[in-house]
């Protein structure tokens, strides 16, 4: 008897057709795992090569003395911050108590500029004529020419004065009534050759000096206090730069020499060959770069730094003594108070930096942990700098986080409410309209939203912030059109559909019986939603928020276009007003810089490292969301 139901599967190389087909499909499914692994590998490889390079870079930064110089630089910069506050105070005071005089002096300056500009020919002619007159005082011809030239100038001056724009001359409206005319009238006294100001202006200058003299002296003393230290820094900075460049050249010396010799060998032109060989001969190959020898100059400058630092403290104190106790302007007073309150911190930083400078040694080993934390907690992201590239994540991370938080604060209430409304409260026809409409919102390309942010929302927000009645809002009026708030709002709109859809699913998963039970007990629809359905869906809603967060923090184009792209940690001193400042983000920096970076450079690797961090954050959020959904799933 023949066998029944025998296999007829065709086989090739011992593999059945059916299993081959299955294998094909399975292989494709495997692809998603493979891609995930590949992402890990590719990002991970570049990113983890980053740390050794970064470490090396920082070691060189120390060895070359750059770190030493940057210690001083920080001292100077801290002072500069205070100095700008001081300048603000000074000008506020000047505007307030000597506004008229200042206005006169400024307007005079404008008129002089205008006259010298427009009447250049006449002035020159008159000057020439006067010179000739000096040589030949009695010559009637010359005399006549001189008076003609003077008349021509006078005429021109009249023209110029008629043309002069008051709004331009007195931009801040400081002149009092009639003074513009008086000033113009007094211009006749002005001698464009000798450049003697008219008496009216001289008087104003004198008054200004009387009113602002002490403050000005204080301000100048304050500004000058750091001068010597700054000079020392500048001198040393140049030296450190040279050391660094030479040390870097040393690293490539062997390779460059080899390339030149090879090039010479390949060259057919004897002149060119000789040039190359000479160049190659000029390259000194050192076993080890003599850092100790080259950095001696920094060690030698340490006593001078100590002296200058001490002098600075004395000079600063003296300058502060000069500052008027009771300035006439509220604004000036506020600034001065700010200086006084910040001063202790600045001085503390100053002495800390002094200690750092004094203790700096080029051969002190740079700790691994320090170089790693310099990436994760570094406050500067400075690239393409001739000095030293800093790769600190903190400004980017802060920007991303701030923008995401704002986006979520906007999106979550709207999305959750909309989900509850559509799922529980809306009429049938509303559901059939709203759900697709929200999907439409999801389809708006991010670059379109970014464009809208630049063109419309930014302008709108800034105009809104300039409304007088809203000046109490922290951060208003905003200085920048493109800022955290603008990006946050747009991303919020982007996150709404994601959160909405997931929330709606979560609400759908709540068994009908829950709601029915509550309704049957006499609860109103809203009570039921609030007390029964929403809590039952809470875990799903939480997961939706997490996934929304993942979407927002990973979004690129909107933040690239709208966040303002300023690489700095936003200034939190204004509290919630921080959101009106521009910022840069992790996604934005990758998009902006990756295209222009050499493959395999430290900068390139730093960008991949940022990418890896984004990847890890998104995996973490996803995974957590899934865990939450899984754990609290209603059976």
């Amino acid at each position: 008897m023949a066998k029944q139901f025998e296999k007829r599967d065709r086989r090739f190389l011992g593999i059945g057709v059916q299993s081959a087909i299955k294998g094909f499909f399975g292989g494709n499914a495997l692809l998603s795992i493979a891609i995930l692994l590949l992402i890990c590998v590719f990002l991970g490889k570049e990113a983890f090569l980053f740390f050794p390079d970064h470490h090396k870079g920082l070691q060189l930064y120390r060895k070359s003395g750059q770190e030493y110089v940057d210690g001083m630089k920080r001292q100077v910069e801290d002072h500069a911050d205070l100095n700008s506050l001081m300048a603000q105070a000074y000008f506020a005071e000047k505007a307030d108590i000597a506004g008229r005089e200042w206005g006169v002096v400024d307007a005079f300056g404008y008129l002089v500029d205008l006259a010298e500009d427009e009447g250049e020919d006449e002035i020159d002619a008159w000057a020439d004529a006067r010179e000739e007159l000096e040589d030949a005082e009695e010559d009637a011809e010359v005399k006549r020419a001189e008076s003609e030239a003077r008349a021509a100038w006078g005429e021109k001056l009249g023209e110029i004065l008629a043309k002069a724009d008051r709004a331009e001359a007195d931009r801040f409206g400081r002149l009092e009534a009639g003074e513009w005319e008086r000033l113009k009238a007094s211009m006749a006294e002005w001698d464009p050759v000798e450049e003697e100001p008219p008496a009216f202006v001289v008087q104003a200058e004198k008054d200004l000096k009387a009113k602002m003299g002490t403050f000005e002296a204080a301000r100048n003393a304050f500004a000058a206090a750091v001068g010597p230290l700054n000079d020392l820094k500048e001198t040393l900075r140049g030296k450190a730069m040279v050391v660094k460049e030479e040390a870097e050249a040393d690293l490539t010396a062997v390779a460059r020499k080899k390339a030149l010799v090879e090039g010479a060998a390949a060259s057919t032109n004897s002149e060119d060959r000789q040039r190359r060989l000479d160049e190659a001969a000029a390259i000194v190959i050192r076993e080890k770069f003599p850092f100790a020898e080259r950095t001696e100059v920094f060690y030698e400058s340490k006593p001078e730094h100590a002296r200058l630092a001490a002098e600075y403290l004395v000079a600063l104190k003296a300058a502060m003594e000069l500052v008027p106790r009771a300035p006439g302007s509220k604004e000036a007073e506020a600034r001065l108070t700010q200086i006084r309150s910040e001063l202790p911190d600045v001085l503390q930083d100053f002495s800390r930096n002094s200690v750092m400078v004094q203790e700096w040694r080029h051969d002190k080993p740079y700790g691994w942990w320090r170089s790693i934390s310099a990436f994760f907690f570094g406050k500067d992201w400075v690239t393409n700098s001739s000095w030293h590239d800093f790769f600190g994540l903190l400004p980017l991370f802060t920007g991303s986080l701030l923008i995401s938080v704002i986006a979520l604060m906007v999106a979550v209430p709207f999305a959750v409410s909309a989900a509850i409304y559509v799922n529980q409260l809306a009429r049938r026809w509303e559901q059939t309209i709203i759900k697709p409409a929200i999907e439409f919102v999801q389809a708006i390309p991010s670059v379109v939203l970014g464009f809208f942010g630049i063109m419309v929302l930014g302008t709108f927000l800034r105009e809104l912030s300039q409304v007088e009645a809203l000046s109490w809002v922290p951060g208003f009026p905003m200085a920048e059109r493109l800022n955290i708030l603008n990006a946050g709002l747009l991303l919020g709109l982007m996150a709404v559909p994601t959160i909405f859809t997931l929330c709606e699913d979560a609400l759908n998963n709540v068994p009908r019986a829950f709601g029915e039970a509550s309704l049957a007990l006499g609860a109103s629809k809203l009570q039921t939603v609030w007390r029964v359905i929403a809590p039952a869906a809470a875990s799903g809603i939480l997961a939706a928020v997490l996934l929304g967060f993942g979407r927002v923090i990973g979004e690129t184009m909107v933040v690239l276009l709208v966040a303002g792209n300023k690489i700095a940690i936003p200034d939190f001193s204004e509290g919630i007003g921080v959101i009106t400042q521009p910022a840069h983000t992790m996604t934005g920096i990758i998009a902006q810089e990756t295209g222009e970076v050499d493959k395999g450079s430290l900068h390139w690797r730093a960008l991949f490292m940022v990418g890896l961090i984004l990847f890890v954050i998104s995996l973490f959020l996803n995974w957590t969301a899934q865990r939450i959904i899984h754990r609290f799933r209603i059976a």
Partner: protein, 299 residues
Amino acid sequence: MSFVPQLNERSMNEINFDATPEPALPAEIPVMSPAKSRGTEGKEAAKSLIEIEDLGFSYDLGQTETLRNITLSIPKGQVTSFIGPSGCGKSTLLRCLNRMNDLIDTAKVTRGKIKIMGQDIHAADVDPIELRKRVGMVFQKYNPFPKSIFENAAYGMRIQGVKSQKVLAEAVERALKQSALWDEVKDRLNSSALGLSGGQQQRLCIARAIAVQPEIILMDEPCSALDPIATARIEELITDLKENYTIVIVTHNMQQATRVSARTAFFYLGELIEVGPTTKIFGNPSKKQTEDYVSGRFG
């Protein structure tokens, strides 16, 4: 008698179809020789076509057994009913017969064997695909494809690689005639099967199953989704079909079992309680449980 010559005869029949424009109805001329042989053997102690020996079956890799110790032989050319309360394993056993349970990842035959036409169907070299071509199945919920009536009936042939439009047309016509649907649909073979009534759709499913001329047709509660009139048509059809096919039917409806089947097997909690001629099972059961069930005391 071995099956090989029957197969030969069958293929000869197919050739004959090519020659004869109007194939004879099975009722008048026994088209297929298996039926003829069944006719002669049926009166004597029927030769069993399916032998189930001490079968154990589990849906969860052997942790709990859904079927236990089933030993049963199903004779050729008859209708055999499986009855029993819900969850007793009758459908499971039915699906074992053409290895449809293979589609469930964790399903497993834990012991025993099933022989169809003398062949252990779980043997390593048995292809379930080949098995299913010979053991057709009709499901509880009629499931025609959303295609034309013709395409539905021709589906099995197409799967087996039949391309000739003529062969297909003849096979479809024969199947539709056998399933008593021909007169109702012959004018609209190309319209969608979903336009048919429920009973017609189920008969189309039967036509689809018999178009490939299986030896055995398994029916899993074929009438449970139909109204009484459609049910009657199907039952009539089953009675007609038993001339040519061995039919195993799972049913909830005890009247249906008495109307259509020659033999009945009663299952309870995964075990075969009793099997015998339908008249005996319903008239004079030997087991108490059977009697309780058929008299409607439980189930």
